[in-house]
């Protein structure tokens, strides 16, 4: 029997008892909707709370400390420029930042000055890592820089008074000094002086004890001068797209011999917690689909009983048991898949409604606002696929026994209407 004819058969059979089939499809759709909605809460929580929380630089950052020369002898070397391309290779790497260090001296009109360390970095890569600012913007030109939250406090005048205004928009005459990497004793430092415009102030450190007086400027400033030519990077970091990808990227980099460290390494359990939560909710949702499957089983069993004489006739004229089984399985699969499609569509509508309605309700009843971007329910495509597969799979399982009953119908008893 051709597949097209099987479908025609199933369509005809389903049309014979439309109301019963419609109710069974409805039950399956409700089960599927429940499954998706309950699991979507877990996905929504992860997206709203965890992904947002773990989206920051720190948790998506992987520090690259060295690369193994001979792992068996614990022989490592520092990261060199040729390693950078290898760091960009793993999937989900968003940016690789390479920072060089220079000694700095700053002077501002009004007699304010300071000394400290300058981080000369690849600003284009830093921008990709969502460098958080408390004020201003990220640099867009080589002669622009961002400074740490406490940097202004280091800028003092001759009386020892710290600069009190905002540094954003000011230009600091900056002296950069580096020492040749391999030089003789008493070598002279190389020095360049550039006017650097401060365009942004970094976010206040989360820890109150941390004093951030950093100064970040772009390597592009020295592109033509070769100022950093013989310098080795002092900080190499790989940033991944989100925290959940840190483990996989770390693993890939370790395989390449890199010695890596990330905060997420210490938070490996978090993945397991979310995984368990999602599995638990999908399992609870699956119970609803299983309840719906009782309806499918009942419908298919009744269909087999009602059609027993027809099945007997078909067998008598040469219908293969496999054909009969496939027609009934296809019918239960059809009920499952139609229910799943309707259930998924309803779940998407409900999810949108919930996300639109919950924030005002929370605001009105609890007098508090949900965070920006908070979603109560989120349905990723993987959940949709999983739910449809579960619904279709459960529907097929529900149809197995009725289909087996159909194939086992005794021809003579069926022809005598003795079933």
């Amino acid at each position: 029997m051709k597949t097209k004819d099987r479908f025609r058969f199933v369509r005809q059979n389903m049309g014979k008892n439309k109301s019963r089939i419609a109710l069974t499809v409805l039950a399956t759709a409700m089960g599927c909707t429940f499954l998706i909605m309950i699991a979507s809460v877990a996905f929504g929580l992860q997206k709203s709370i965890v992904d947002e929380a773990l989206h920051g630089r720190k948790v998506t950052q992987i520090e690259i400390n060295a690369r193994a020369v001979d792992a068996s002898r614990n022989d490592n070397r520092r990261i060199i420029a040729s390693d950078i391309d290898a760091l960009r290779q793993p999937k989900h790497v968003k940016a690789v930042t390479v920072a060089y260090r220079a000694e700095g001296k700053w002077e501002l009109d009004g007699g304010y000055s300071a000394q400290g360390l300058i981080s000369v970095t690849d600003m284009a890569a830093e921008i990709k890592t969502d460098l958080p600012l408390s004020e201003g913007r990220l640099p867009q030109a080589p002669d622009e820089a961002v400074v740490g939250y406490h940097f202004a406090q280091d800028m003092k005048n001759a009386d020892g008074q710290a600069y009190s205004g905002s540094l954003v928009g000011t230009t600091l005459m900056t002296t950069f000094s580096v020492y040749p990497a391999q030089g003789e004793e008493n070598v002279q430092a190389r020095t360049e002086v550039h006017p650097i415009k401060i365009v942004g102030i970094l976010e206040k450190p989360a820890k109150e004890v941390v004093y951030d007086n950093s100064f970040m400027t772009d390597q592009a400033l020295f592109q033509t001068t070769g100022f950093l030519a013989d310098q080795e990077p002092i900080g190499v970091n790989v940033f991944v797209t989100n925290a959940s990808k840190v483990n996989s990227v770390s693993k890939a980099l370790r395989a390449e011999g890199f010695l890596v460290y990330s905060v997420a390494d210490e938070l490996k359990q978090i993945d397991i917690v979310f995984l368990i939560m999602k599995i638990g909710l999908v399992f609870v949702g699956t119970i609803a689909v299983l309840i719906a499957s009782i309806g499918i089983y009942n419908t298919m069993t009744m269909a087999v009983t009602e059609r027993a004489p027809d099945i007997g006739i078909m067998k008598a004229i040469g219908a293969h048991p496999r054909t009969i089984r496939s027609v009934f399985l296809l019918e239960s699969f059809g009920i499952g898949i139609i229910g799943a499609i309707i259930g998924t569509a309803v779940a998407y509508i409900l999810s949108m409604l919930v996300n639109a309605i919950v924030p005002p309700i929370v605001h009105a009843s609890l007098d508090s606002n949900l965070p920006d971007g908070f979603v109560f329910s989120y349905i990723p495509w993987t959940l949709t696929v999983l739910s449809v597969l579960i619904s279709a799979g459960v529907a097929i399982l529900s149809g197995l026994r009725p289909a087996a009953r159909a194939t086992g119908i005794d021809v003579l008893r069926a022809l005598r209407r003795d079933l």
């Binding site: 008598a316 040469g318 003579l412």
Partner: protein
């Protein structure tokens, strides 16, 4: 064409009563030649239907063999029987056994659908059969909208849809009036004469039995009498030729 050898069958009485059984067929031997019409007559309960059901594969005999078209069916699975029946045997039933939710056209088309024949060829063959059996105007009628004679013609057309070489019929005129019975028998004889289809017909009606080249009587599960009212012409001449060559 159909060779039945030492066929016996016992029915178990009740699902759990293995000890209680009733024997309905005893060491039946029957050979139906190609192009022959054999009618099997007997009283109700004589075992004639059981014999036909064993020959069709509807029941598995307790012992003995059924060899059809050179194929021993002893080890056939249910699926093998289904394929074999569909491709080689047409079955006609007393109460027509049409699917009530299907039109005359769909009932005739059903074996072609099960065989996986393409839609174009299916349409052509179904329409030919409808035409041949005078059902062209009834294609879209459901069995409930047809007379007994028309339903039986639909049943014959369905049995012949895949052009089988063998047709087995179980009391085919049992539900027909005398006019329709005569028409049916004429059709059968015509099919036999024109297409050399082999028929094994179960009947309790002596008039129907008389169309057979041979009449086989069955009593209490045993073949008790064989008559040849009109021996198969080609077989007779073949036998004559065989005798002459010796």
């Amino acid at each position: 064409m159909i060779r039945i050898e030492r066929l016996s069958h016992r029915y178990q009485l009740g699902a759990k009563s293995k000890d209680r059984s009733v024997s309905v067929l005893h060491d039946i031997d029957l050979h139906v030649k190609e192009g022959e019409i054999v009618t099997l007559v007997g009283r109700s309960g004589s075992g004639k239907s059981t014999l036909l059901h064993a020959a069709c594969g509807f029941i598995r005999p307790s012992s003995g063999r059924v060899i059809i078209d050179g194929q021993d069916t002893a080890n056939f699975s249910e699926g093998d029987w289904a394929d074999f029946r569909r491709q080689r045997i047409g079955v006609i039933f007393q109460s027509f056994q049409l699917i009530p939710s299907m039109t005359a056209y769909e009932n005739i088309e059903l074996p072609l659908v099960l065989e996986g024949i393409g839609e174009t060829e299916r349409n052509q063959r179904t329409n030919q059969l409808l035409e041949r059996f005078g059902l062209a105007g009834y294609a879209e009628h459901y069995p409930g909208e047809l007379s007994g004679g028309q339903q039986q013609r639909v049943g014959i057309a369905r049995a012949l849809a895949l052009k089988p070489r063998i047709v087995m019929a179980d009391e085919p005129t049992g539900s027909l009036d005398s006019d329709n019975e005569r028409q049916f028998l004429d059709t059968l004889q015509q099919l036999n004469a024109e297409e050399r289809i082999t028929f094994l017909i179960i009947t309790h009606d002596e008039h129907v039995a008389s169309i057979g080249h041979r009449i086989v009587r069955i009593e209490d599960g045993r073949l008790s009498e064989i008559a040849s009212p009109r021996p198969l012409a080609s077989t007779a001449s073949a036998q004559q030729q065989e005798v002459s060559s010796r």
